[in-house]
């Protein structure tokens, strides 16, 4: 999709704007048909994207509890968030830990597993299926399972640690490492990233490796100089998608901490905090929650912009072969 963005941008840049009145009657007919076909999406984007996008921005300057009409309060919520909401910083920090940890896990482990499977292994399809399997399990069921995997007293992971002679941990019962529990759980979805990387690896022509071998490159040099550079577009895209998603981590935390983000707010993530104000407080604080949502949007936007802007320095596109 990142390359789709790229080619879409360049398509826009290169071309003269078409104007309706310059079109021939036949082209006008074609344009009308095209617009007719995309009408459902145009209505959808107005209703489900543009309207809420604008409305939540406006609501963020109001007090709103759904029952009574919104009441304008200016920047009050923003001032309160930055000066008087300790849980804002706490939840941002927890989310930061999750974003950094889970994205690193998915990219590094996903890439490593894809490399293993790309080593001409037997039963490739079987391994790929096994690794991918946990990521299709419904998240409610996964949460129930992982509550017991990471159970402080009799959990699977503690049993494993005990069996190999390592100390046991209290995971979700210990505020200092509760977030680490969610990072361990996030390995569940590594299979998705692995499948994407594997498809990318399989697309690298064998000749490149042959050429590198003739030049005397060893295994690690080939990995660093051939494989990784050719994979940078895929790595880039996966970092981008995973960061955007990880910032919005909510469901498993909501289920496993029963909506509390405990112990002692140690697993209160940003979206959980926002959800709390909108749907668990009485009366609901929809305006405050909208302000939190917009701050999250700005943070994600800033991260995306920085990654996209720096991508030209390290993302390597083969000439003319993209898209």
């Amino acid at each position: 999709m990142a390359t789709a963005f790229g080619s879409q941008f360049s398509a826009l840049r290169g071309r003269r704007r078409e104007r309706w009145r310059d079109l021939s009657p036949m082209r006008k007919r074609e344009a009308k048909m095209g617009l007719l076909f995309i009408t459902p999406w145009i209505i959808g984007v107005l209703l489900f994207s543009l309207f809420p996008f604008v409305a939540s921005f406006l609501l963020s300057f109001t007090k709103y509890n759904i029952v009574a009409p919104p009441e304008w309060v200016g920047a009050e919520h923003y001032v309160h968030i930055f000066t008087d909401d300790p849980l804002f910083l706490k939840s941002l920090k927890n989310t930061g830990v999750y974003v950094g940890g889970s994205v690193a896990i998915r990219i590094v482990l996903g890439f490593a597993l894809a490399l293993l499977l790309n080593a001409k292994v037997r039963f490739l399809g079987l391994w790929r299926t096994l690794f991918y399997l946990p990521s299709i399990v419904p998240i409610v069921a996964l949460s129930v399972i992982w509550l017991y995997v990471l159970n402080a007293r009799a959990g699977l992971l503690n049993s494993l640690l005990y069996a190999i002679g390592l100390p046991r941990y209290r995971w979700f019962a210990d505020p200092d490492i509760a977030m680490i529990g969610y990072l361990i759980m996030s390995t569940t979805w590594v299979g998705v990233t692995m499948v994407i990387f594997l498809a990318g690896l399989q697309g690298i022509p064998e000749e490149y490796y042959d050429a590198a071998k003739i030049d005397g490159a060893n295994v690690f040099q080939r990995l660093l100089r051939v494989t990784i550079p050719l994979m940078t577009p895929t790595i880039y895209l996966n970092i981008l998608i995973n960061i955007i998603n990880a910032f919005q981590v909510f469901t498993q935390v909501f289920i496993m901490s029963d909506g509390q983000g405990g112990p002692r707010d140690a697993t209160r993530t940003y979206v959980l905090h926002l959800f709390d104000h909108a749907f668990q407080y009485l009366p609901p604080q929809m305006g405050y929650s909208s302000a939190l949502a917009w701050i999250l949007f700005m943070i994600i936007f800033a991260f995306t912009a920085v990654i996209v802007a720096t991508s030209q320095r390290w993302v390597f596109y083969q000439g003319g072969e993209t898209d």
Binding site: R17, V45, P52, Y162, I196, A278, A293, F297
Partner: protein
């Protein structure tokens, strides 16, 4: 990297290299087995503990084989958890959304793929950009709007949006349509077929692979959805499987019946696993399209 090792050793067949090659292969498969265990053991344990007596589930270290096999955990779980109703509700939502998704996304994708009109590329760029909009930003106004028109505690918020196109599915479908040779369409046009006929009788049959991928993603999405049903459906008669399972595992007083909770989880996971094994190829394709193409 081991690919390279293997190839290298194929070139120089001396005994030392043969040995390192064998060790390398053994290590490789060992690693694959360890990783498979990491991914699968939690699911295996869910299944085994769903058949255990209660006092065996909380034992340390973990027990793997039920002392007594207790399939009645399943029937008891069914009693607490209104499986019949939640299953019906989930299927209804999933099937209607699936129809909506396939219908709207193929139509819109065809519009983007096969017609030239002013601002088409700008509009498609907007479509891609909506994929990056955090759901938290949409959540509140959309909820408030549904509340205002009386749609809370109905299925509408969970099925109606599907009929207005999903950006990601449209993207998948458009990529596919772009790959269909223009000659086919021109031939149909020369034969006097209308645009609508070309779409329904030429494009749709050809796009079957893409439609299967969308169908699977859409179904999986409805089946697994938690946040939507959580905020829109308060009435227990409207609850979905995901909400039912959540309530069953988090209700005070039921927190202790781990074996039945695992039985309930197994019942929710099993249909997804069956669909997964039937359509593995499409699942993997779905993942790939999201990460690579375009």
């Amino acid at each position: 990297m081991t690919t390279a090792t293997a190839a290298q050793n194929f070139i120089h067949r001396d005994p030392v290299n043969r040995l390192t090659r064998i060790i390398g292969r053994v290590l490789l498969y060992l690693l694959l087995i360890v990783m498979s265990l990491w991914f699968l053991v939690p699911l295996f344990w869910m299944f085994m503990s769903s058949l255990m007596p209660l006092d065996q589930v909380g034992v340390f270290p973990v027990q793997w084989i039920p002392r007594v096999w207790q399939p009645e955990n399943y029937t008891q779980a069914l009693e607490f958890w209104n499986f019949g109703t939640t299953f019906r509700n989930t299927m209804f939502i999933a099937i209607v959304s699936l129809i909506g998704d396939i219908g709207s996304c193929t139509i819109v994708a065809y519009g983007f793929a096969r017609f030239r009109f002013p601002f088409r590329d700008t509009l498609f760029l907007i479509l891609l950009a909506t994929l990056m909009l955090p759901f938290a930003v949409r959540l509140i106004p959309v909820y408030a709007a549904y509340d205002a028109i009386g749609w809370i505690d109905t299925f509408y918020p969970l099925i109606v949006p599907a009929f207005f196109g999903n950006a990601f599915y449209i993207f998948i479908c458009r990529q596919f349509f772009l790959g269909i040779p223009q000659d086919l369409l021109d031939a149909a046009k020369i034969d006097g077929a209308s645009e609508v006929r070309i779409f329904t009788q030429v494009m749709i049959p050809l796009a079957k692979p893409a439609i299967v991928v969308i169908a699977i993603l859409s179904f999986q999405n409805s089946w697994n959805d938690f946040l939507g049903p959580l905020i829109y459906l308060k009435d227990p008669d409207l609850h979905t499987l995901a909400i039912g399972l959540y309530k069953f595992t988090s209700l005070p007083g039921q927190g202790g019946i781990y074996n039945q909770q695992m039985a309930a989880s197994t019942m929710m996971v099993l249909p997804v696993l069956i669909v997964f094994f039937l359509f593995q190829k499409q699942f993997i394709q779905g993942a790939n399209i999201s990460g690579l193409k375009g």
